[in-house]
Structures are given as C-alpha cells and as structure tokens.
C-alpha cells in the first residue's frame, strides 16, 4: 500500500533569538542612560574688570544700586534699591525698577540703564537669581517678556 506523506511545506524561518537579544540590550541601554533634561537659560552679564572699560563721567550714568542683606542661614532679610527699603518682596522691587526706568525696551549693548547688585556674602544664590529676574523684566498677559534692565553687574564681594 502506498502511503502518502502529507505535503509538508518547508518553512524558511529565520532564527530571531539573537536579534531579539541585541534589541533588548539596546533597549536596556537607552532606558538606563535616558535622562530628562530640564530646560535651561542664561542671564548674560558683560563685566569687564574695573578700569578696562570707559570711565563713567556723567552722574546720570551711575548704575542703580541694589543691596541684598542676608541672615546667618543665608536667607534674604531685606533689599534696598537706591536706599529705598523694599523688604523681601521681589514684586515691589520690580515695581520700583519700572518706576525708575520705565517699561520702554532697553537699548542693546552699552546703552540703557545699569544696575549694580551688592549682596551679603552668605546670601543664597537662588535669591540673587530671583532679584536678577525681577530687575531684568517680567512676562505680560500674553506671556511675552518685557525687558527692563539688561546691564547687570556685581559689586565687590563682601567677606
């Protein structure tokens, strides 16, 4: 009797194991090295060494003076802008800056108002950045940045 084998279709299957191994290794590598990067930006400050730039001759060119005082823990205790005491309210600082320089767009480069920040040595840096934010500008209702003072410099460090 003739027995007929059922016609077996030859399967040309690739061996996927090694590829899947490598793919998973790649996946693990990327997952382990993945890091969510926070968006960062800069406050640009041009501060040549005193004496190397042009000397300030006009009294009206004198910079505004912002004094920041700290307690022993480095917390902000008080601020004063041109001897006007502002407590530790950055909104009040911004309002005073607006009243002094106006909201017109500052001139680029060497023109425009300038502010000198004189801070206690141990004041936490975050407060300085908050102060710089307050004097640099603000966001209006349409989320556009209104610039106030772009020329910022630091006084000599107080030891």
């Amino acid at each position: 009797m003739k027995m007929r084998h059922p016609v077996e279709r030859e399967k040309n299957e690739l061996n996927m194991t090694s590829m899947i191994d490598i793919v998973f290794l790649l996946l693990v590598f990327f997952v382990m090295t993945f890091k969510i990067v926070e968006m960062e930006g800069d406050f640009s400050i041009r501060m040549p060494l005193a004496g190397s730039g042009g000397a300030t001759s006009d009294v009206t060119d004198l910079p505004l003076k912002l004094r920041l005082r700290a307690d022993n823990q480095g917390r902000l205790t008080s601020m004063s802008l041109n001897e006007i005491n502002l407590g530790n309210d950055f909104d009040q600082l911004r309002a005073n800056v607006i009243s002094l320089v106006g909201t017109d767009a500052p001139a680029e480069g060497e023109e425009g108002p300038e502010i000198e920040i004189d801070t206690d040595y141990n004041l936490r840096y975050a407060y300085v950045i908050q102060a710089i934010t307050a004097v640099s500008g603000y966001r209006d209702e349409t989320d556009q940045v209104v610039k106030l003072i772009e020329r910022i410099k630091f006084a000599k460090p107080r030891r």
Binding site: F34, F43, N122
Partner: protein
C-alpha cells in the same frame, strides 16, 4: 491508513507585535537621548527663573563652571577652589589662544547651585575678570509655573 506524525506541536507565539513595539521604543529613546552630559552636573541644582529661555544658538567658546553647594568649582571634570581656579582658566585660555581667539571672546557659563553663597559666585567672577574674561552667563532653569 492514517499515519500519525510524532513531531510535537510547537506552540510558537507571534513575536511580530513585540518586536515592533521594541523597535519603536528604541527609536524613541534614540531620538531623545542627550549626549551632552558635560553641560550638567548631578551636584548642581540650578535656581529657577521665569524669564530665562533656552538659547537659540549655543554660546561661542563656552567655559562651563559648575559650582556645588559647598563652593567647590568643577571645570572640565576637575575640582578647583576660588584660589586655584586661575590655573584651570589659564589652561582653557591657552586652548583659545591656540585658536587665535582672545579671552574677551569666551563666555563663562556659571552653573551655580541654588544654595551656594552668592559671594562664592562673586569671587568666581572676580577671578575670571583677573584672567581678562568679561562675558558671563548665569545659568538658571526655566520656571514655567
């Protein structure tokens, strides 16, 4: 006559969707991976500001100074204090001069920890000024709240 095959039944799952998904995940991570780890340091938590925006173009000739909470300065993977920072800055400036650039062309990016004493940042700026550097960028993270 019926002849039974002795071959065991292999229950083969269909791997195609899994491989599809895995490749998509790999593509996702490859696109998002950030290789510029030199610009960040795990010891520095930046202060936040509502005004800063990511720069549209990277700054020219950046010298990145990481300032940890204790005032330690990290430049190019090496630690400095405000007293020894000049050595590191001079090394960076030597590289710039080899490229026919002056110190005033460099941008000193200061990535200070939010709780470091502000005086330490002022000292760093003073040391950099003594080395004829005059452009500084105080880095902060974007606060969208």
């Amino acid at each position: 006559m019926r002849v039974k095959s002795n071959k065991p039944d292999l229950a083969e799952g269909d791997l195609t969707p899994m491989i599809d998904m895995t490749f998509q995940l790999i593509a996702f991570f490859m696109v998002l991976i950030n290789f510029s780890q030199t610009e960040s340091n795990e010891r520095v938590v930046l202060p936040s500001s509502q005004l800063v925006k990511p720069p549209e173009a990277p700054l020219d000739f950046p010298i990145i100074l990481h300032v940890a909470q204790d005032g330690e300065i990290i430049l190019g993977g090496e630690s400095y204090t405000t007293e020894t920072l000049s050595t590191g800055l001079r090394r960076e400036l030597a590289v710039m001069r080899a490229e026919k650039k002056s110190a005033s062309d460099a941008n000193v990016i200061i990535r200070g920890h939010q709780d470091v004493a502000a005086g330490e940042i002022q000292e760093i700026i003073r040391v950099a000024q003594e080395n004829e550097l005059e452009r500084f960028a105080l880095r902060a993270k974007e606060d969208r709240s």
